[in-house]
Every structure is written in structure tokens, then in C-alpha cells.
């Protein structure tokens, strides 16, 4: 398949690994930001192909994982109502809230459905005027435009039984927090290619200047990631803090301008709690006041629902790349995909789930 096979070609991947080994004269800590990239690294075992000097650290870019406990609780409260049809991307259903998850709401008779596109929720709302259709609008800048489009379309067509529970997050503020934290050891960043295909990468140029850290916009296939690592190592070895785009087949500097316009029209930037990390100022998106009629938090009056994250949970450190999943005493013992304790074990893109699924007891880190 075009755009897939050549990026999973063993010869290309191995020659990139050899180039990295030639370039690296000392050890470097590199962070891949996006959970999709972590997934590829673990699934294909790319870390095994890298020289030991290159240490890949997994970033906070799993939208399911960083959705805070209280938002999951809000979702559960709304989804439990008999007049509501609650629609969500699949991986949110298994994320544990304070006492249960959305799958259990469904098992108890709640109308909870998995969708691939928010427009499906709009369509369903139109087809079922007697039901309140609520879409769980989560994710990074990647899912924000289609979700914005759903609200925009609902307003355009005068739908009055559609709303969204919004918990969008933005990558750059989280990166700034990470890079300013005292324990930070990350020396180079692989920026999330899908986020950048929407937002472009000019925001990352600012981060690069601010923190003197090289950043490569990376794709999601094995060859993409190996090439991104080789670009980063080349920059680090020659002391060049600059931004480069590896994922040129999808990303341009300005990004997708109509998508950004739509996002701005529907959402405004707001403070947002991140699961395991806490409140990060200006790190989220909320519905603008003009779209308040579509805000499920207001309609169903769940704004007051709060839940405190357990302060000692290691998922905070995992999401910041400061601990590996295998450093957690519960990993693979009490915390497994079928009984997830923290969100990184739930989503396929969560670092804990990726380790458990593909590398349990096999990764060099796991035995270290």
C-alpha cells in the first residue's frame, strides 16, 4: 500500500538506524511527544534498533490519557441519564472514572455508542429529535477541527438536541511546562505530526527559540520516526537548536488554515486540568459563549463535579517522560489493560498500554 509499505521497509529502517549510530558520539534523551509515535516505537521495537546512546522518552501526547478524572466523571453522569444518547471515540469508554467507566454505564442500560466521527453524532441527533445527543469532544489540536465542525453544523441547521462535553487540550503549553520543570532531561523533541498537520509548526519554532532545543516534526511510521531521530541527533551533535519538518508529506509550516479558522470560531483557549499533571494555564479549548447552547456541561449542570487525582500516582511521571511504565510497582500486576488503574494503561496510545501489549518483560528498560 502506497505511503505505508515504503515506510515499513526493513532495509530503509535499518539504514537509518546505521546513520544514527554513525552520528551519535554521546548519549541523548529524545522525547516523542505523541502517543501514536510511542505506539509505533513499541509495536515495531524501534528502540531495539537504536544505539544504546539514544534514549527515547515518551511524552504526554495521548489525549485519552490526559483527560482528567473529573471530566470522565462528568461524562458518566451525563451518559447515565435516560434521555441521553452519549457518543464517544472508542478508547474513552474504558477509562476509569472515580467509581466506574462508560462501558459499565452502557452495561447498566445507558445509551452509550462508539463513533469514528463527530458528524455521525450530529446525524444521529437529527434522526432522533426526542433524544439528547451528547458527543464527548476530547483530543489535541488534531480532533478539534472536526469536533468544531460538528457544533458549527449543529448551529447552522438549528439542531436543539445536540451538545458536546468538551475537554480539548493543546500541545505547546504542556511542552513548555515539561521543559521548565526542574527534573527535565529531554534534549530534543519529536513534534506530533498530526497535530502539526492542523496547526503547522511555527508554534514549535517559538519553543525551540525559548528553550534552545532542536525539534523535528515527525510522522508515525517506523521510517518516519527513525528519520526524525537521525535529524535530531544530527542537530544535537552539531549544536543546532532549530526546527525541521520530517513529515513533509502531511505538514507545512502554516498548517491547515481553514481548520484553524473553524477552531477559533468555535473554541476559545482556556485553562485545563491534565490527568496526572494538574492544571496547566491556557492549555485547553472550551466552547465560545456564542456556542453555549451546545455546551453539555452547562445543559446538564455538571460543572460542579470535581475529583481529586491521587497525588502519588506514577502516571503523572510517566506522562512527563520522567518514569518508564515498568518503573511502576503495579505495572502488569494490579494494573493491566483489562483492569487499568491509570489512563496510560487504557488507550492503545498510552505508554503503559504500549509497553504491556508489545514489550512486557522484553524491553531492555523493563529489566533495567
Amino acid at each position: 500500500m502506497k505511503y505505508i509499505d515504503e515506510y515499513r521497509d526493513e532495509r530503509i529502517v535499518r539504514s537509518l538506524a546505521a546513520r544514527i549510530a554513525r552520528l551519535a558520539t554521546r548519549s541523548w534523551n529524545l522525547m516523542e511527544i505523541c502517543g501514536g509515535q510511542t505506539h509505533t516505537i513499541m509495536r515495531y521495537g524501534l528502540h531495539e534498533l537504536l544505539p544504546p546512546a539514544i534514549n527515547l522518552v515518551h511524552g504526554p501526547g495521548c489525549p485519552v490519557c490526559v483527560t482528567p478524572l473529573e471530566v470522565v466523571d462528568k461524562a458518566i453522569e451525563i451518559a447515565s441519564r435516560s434521555d441521553v444518547t452519549f457518543m464517544s471515540y472508542g478508547d474513552m469508554l474504558r477509562v476509569p472514572g472515580s467509581s466506574r467507566d462508560l462501558f459499565r454505564v452502557k452495561a447498566a442500560g445507558g445509551d452509550v455508542r462508539i463513533v469514528y466521527s463527530p458528524m455521525e453524532a450530529v446525524k444521529l441527533a437529527r434522526a432522533m429529535p426526542q433524544r439528547q445527543v451528547v458527543f464527548f469532544s476530547i483530543g489535541f489540536e488534531t480532533t478539534a477541527p472536526p469536533n468544531a465542525m460538528a457544533v458549527w453544523e449543529a448551529r447552522r441547521t438549528g439542531l436543539d438536541n445536540f451538545s458536546m462535553l468538551v475537554s480539548h487540550v493543546l500541545v505547546p503549553p504542556a511542552l513548555r511546562l515539561l521543559l521548565t520543570s526542574p527534573g527535565n532531561q529531554v534534549q530534543g523533541l519529536i513534534a506530533p505530526g498530526h497535530v502539526c498537520s492542523v496547526m503547522g509548526y511555527w508554534e514549535y519554532e517559538e519553543i525551540c527559540r525559548e528553550f534552545h532545543i532542536p525539534i523535528v516534526v515527525g510522522g508515525f511510521e517506523p521510517a518516519d520516526l527513525m528519520e526524525a531521530v537521525s535529524m535530531l541527533v544530527a542537530k544535537l551533535e552539531s549544536g543546532r537548536a532549530e526546527v525541521e519538518n520530517q513529515y513533509v508529506r502531511s505538514v507545512c509550516r502554516e498548517g491547515n488554515l481553514p481548520a484553524q479558522r473553524l477552531m477559533r470560531e468555535v473554541f476559545r483557549v482556556c485553562g485545563r486540568k491534565w490527568r496526572g499533571i494538574g492544571l496547566i494555564p491556557e492549555s485547553g479549548l472550551c466552547l465560545r459563549d456564542e456556542f453555549a447552547a451546545y455546551d453539555a456541561e452547562k445543559i446538564f449542570e455538571v460543572s460542579g463535579v470535581t475529583a481529586d487525582e491521587p497525588s502519588e500516582c506514577i502516571s503523572a511521571l510517566v506522562l512527563q517522560g520522567r518514569k518508564r511504565p515498568t518503573d511502576c510497582p503495579a505495572f502488569g500486576v494490579r494494573c493491566r489493560p483489562e483492569t487499568p488503574m491509570g489512563a496510560p494503561m487504557v488507550s492503545a496510545e498510552g505508554a503503559c498500554a504500549a509497553y504491556y501489549r508489545y514489550r512486557r518483560g522484553r524491553a531492555p528498560e523493563a529489566t533495567a
Partner: protein, 346 residues
């Protein structure tokens, strides 16, 4: 450890979830903890797709399966033909010649009579094509809302020829793992027709009766240790079951697994792993090393095994675990699915 205060895991034992029916880890736990615990006996304990019972010296294979597929009609088949193929295949995986089926219908009030007739006609055609007869049956009608249109249960009986002894507990280190063709077609064909998922696909289910393929394979060699059809839970669940029951490891090679471009594309788009997607017309054979080539040749001569491949081997290393050499070289674990495969968000 005591200071570790992650949110407590939500117990799995309080409610039945959809994931308990996915054919993955939750299904295995449910079967072991509820059903095996209650019905414990040596025949059931074999945990094969069929029970093999001896009656007056004759070895009979006996199996049952219930079909709840939605939509009732899909490219490549319908719930009627599937109800025949599924049960015939469970018998065939024991090496049996399938003979008789039962068919029980649970019908939701309001189902158009025309739909029921179409399904029954299809079921009859599939049975005739497979050379089996439906010799007993049952009908129940439930209130609107208590079912989902139509559920069908079929049970089947077949005769196991002399000298054939197949079981998932017989895999030995050195054995080869054979796969009869491209994977994931049934699951993706069904998914493409589900409401809420809009993608066009020419893909048809691979639903087919495999007993004639099995007969060809057994004709080529009796050194076949185990046959399994990787239905719910896909190839990964089947291989994990074999690894667990035989207390061996299984190593497969991603490059050797046949996959149609349409399935690959759909899986890429939907974020699914084809190793976990259901098949209804494929089988996995664990074969003694010397028998691998003759069995493979026999499979490839049969219309349902034209794309058969040796995809891996059985090892004494890592008992109970399945690993796969990935396309780019390193190996990874192929785990049993925890619940349903969840669509990825981005």
C-alpha cells in the same frame, strides 16, 4: 507499595460487559471462572472447539455455536449461512466429517417474515452445500426490544475418522504454524456495514465451510497436531489459546501473514490490528515439521487454501506467549485482547 494510591481498578466481576463476548482475555476469564468452574469434566476441560465423545467405539464430535451478527445480511453471507459455516467449522477443526445440525431461532417480534424466510433459505442452501442436514430445531419469539431481530443457535454432530486426534494442547516445539489464507475479511466486511461507520468497501466476508479443506489436509498427513479457526478475537487469540493450552511459545513472522489491501487499508484507517479481526473461513494448523510442506501443498490445491502460508513455528521459549517478528526486524508480543478492540482516536 503501600503508599501507591492509583485509583483502584474497577472490578471485572460485578457486571457482564460486551468485552466478555469479544473472544479475548475477558471471554477466557468468563469461561474459566463461571462455566468451567460449574461444568468441570474431562471432555470440557480439553477446551477445544468441539467435544469428542466415544459412543460404542464410535468417536463423535459435538459442538454448539450461537450467532448474533449484526447486520443480518452482509457482503459474502448472512446470519443463516454463517450459522452453518461456524458450526461445521467447529466440527471440522476436530477432524470430523460433519453430518447433522440443529437450528434454533430466537426471533424478535416484528421481524419481517420475508427476512426470516431469506435467512432460512440461505441456511438451508449452506447446509446442503456443506453436505449436512438440519434434523432438529426450535423457535422462540421474544417481545419487541428483548432481542435484536434474530439470533440463531446451531449445534452439530460429526464422526471423527480412525487415527485422527487433534487438540490445541498438542503443539510441540519445532512444529510449524500454517495459516490457510488472508486474514480479517469477515470482521472488516461486517464493520463496513455497521451504522455509524461510513466507508465504502468491496470486501466480502470469507465465511465458508472448511471441512473439505481439512479432509484434504488430513489426507496429506496425519501429523497435524491441532486445527483452529480464528473467528472472534482473530489470529492472535487463537495462537494465544494454543500457546497456553500446549504450554509452548509461538513465534510468527509479520511478513508471512497474507493480508488483502482492502483489509490493510481499513485497519490503517480505523486503527485496528488485523491480527485481532474475526475470520469465518480461515484455519490455523499446527503441523509436525516434516508434514508442513505436504500439508501446505494440499491446502494450496484447495480453493479455500490457495493463499496458505507457513507463518511461524512453535518454540520451547516463552511458554504461553506469542511473539511476532515485525516488518522492520525486532520482535514484539502478540497479546490476547483485553476487551473489544477499541477504535483509535487519532
Amino acid at each position: 507499595m503501600n503508599s501507591f494510591v492509583c485509583p483502584a481498578p474497577i472490578g471485572l466481576n460485578d457486571t457482564v460487559l460486551l468485552g466478555h463476548g469479544s473472544g479475548g482475555k475477558l471471554s477466557a476469564d468468563l469461561t474459566r471462572d463461571v462455566f468451567l468452574a460449574a461444568f468441570q469434566n474431562p471432555i470440557l476441560a480439553r477446551m477445544d472447539d468441539q467435544a469428542i465423545v466415544s459412543i460404542n467405539g464410535m468417536r463423535l464430535a459435538f459442538t454448539t455455536d450461537t450467532f448474533v451478527v449484526k447486520p443480518l445480511f452482509f457482503p459474502g453471507g448472512d446470519i443463516g449461512s454463517l450459522a452453518v459455516h461456524g458450526t461445521v467449522n467447529d466440527l471440522a477443526m476436530g477432524g470430523a466429517q460433519p453430518l447433522f445440525l440443529s437450528a434454533a431461532f430466537i426471533i424478535e417480534e416484528g421481524l419481517p417474515m420475508e427476512t426470516l424466510r431469506a435467512v432460512v433459505t440461505s441456511l438451508q442452501r449452506a447446509a446442503a452445500a456443506a453436505g449436512v442436514q438440519v434434523v432438529t430445531g426450535d423457535t422462540k419469539v421474544v417481545e419487541k426490544g428483548s432481542g435484536d431481530g434474530l439470533f440463531i443457535n446451531t449445534s452439530g454432530i460429526g464422526v471423527v475418522p480412525e487415527g485422527i486426534q487433534l487438540s490445541a494442547s498438542q503443539a510441540r516445539p519445532g512444529d510449524r504454524v500454517l495459516l490457510s489464507g488472508a486474514i480479517g475479511e469477515h470482521g472488516i466486511a461486517i464493520l463496513a456495514k455497521r451504522e455509524g461507520l461510513e466507508f465504502e468497501s468491496e470486501l466480502a466476508s470469507d465465511s465458508a465451510a472448511l471441512h473439505t479443506l481439512v479432509a484434504e489436509m488430513l489426507g496429506a498427513s496425519h501429523d497435524i497436531r491441532c486445527l483452529r479457526d480464528p473467528t472472534r478475537g482473530g489470529v492472535s487469540s487463537t495462537l494465544n489459546e494454543i500457546a497456553a493450552q500446549s504450554r509452548v511459545g509461538v513465534e510468527i513472522d509479520e511478513r508471512a501473514i497474507p493480508l488483502r489491501e482492502e483489509v490493510k487499508g481499513a485497519c490503517e484507517m480505523l486503527g485496528l490490528d488485523p491480527l485481532y479481526v474475526a475470520n469465518e473461513g480461515k484455519l490455523i494448523a499446527i503441523v509436525a515439521p516434516d508434514a508442513a510442506d505436504p500439508v501446505l501443498d494440499a491446502m494450496r490445491r484447495h480453493p479455500l487454501g490457495g493463499q496458505a502460508q507457513i507463518i511461524g513455528s512453535v518454540t520451547a521459549a516463552h511458554p504461553g506467549m506469542v511473539t511476532m517478528r515485525t516488518l522492520v526486524g525486532p520482535s514484539r508480543i502478540v497479546d490476547m485482547l483485553a476487551g473489544d478492540q477499541l477504535p483509535r482516536i487519532c
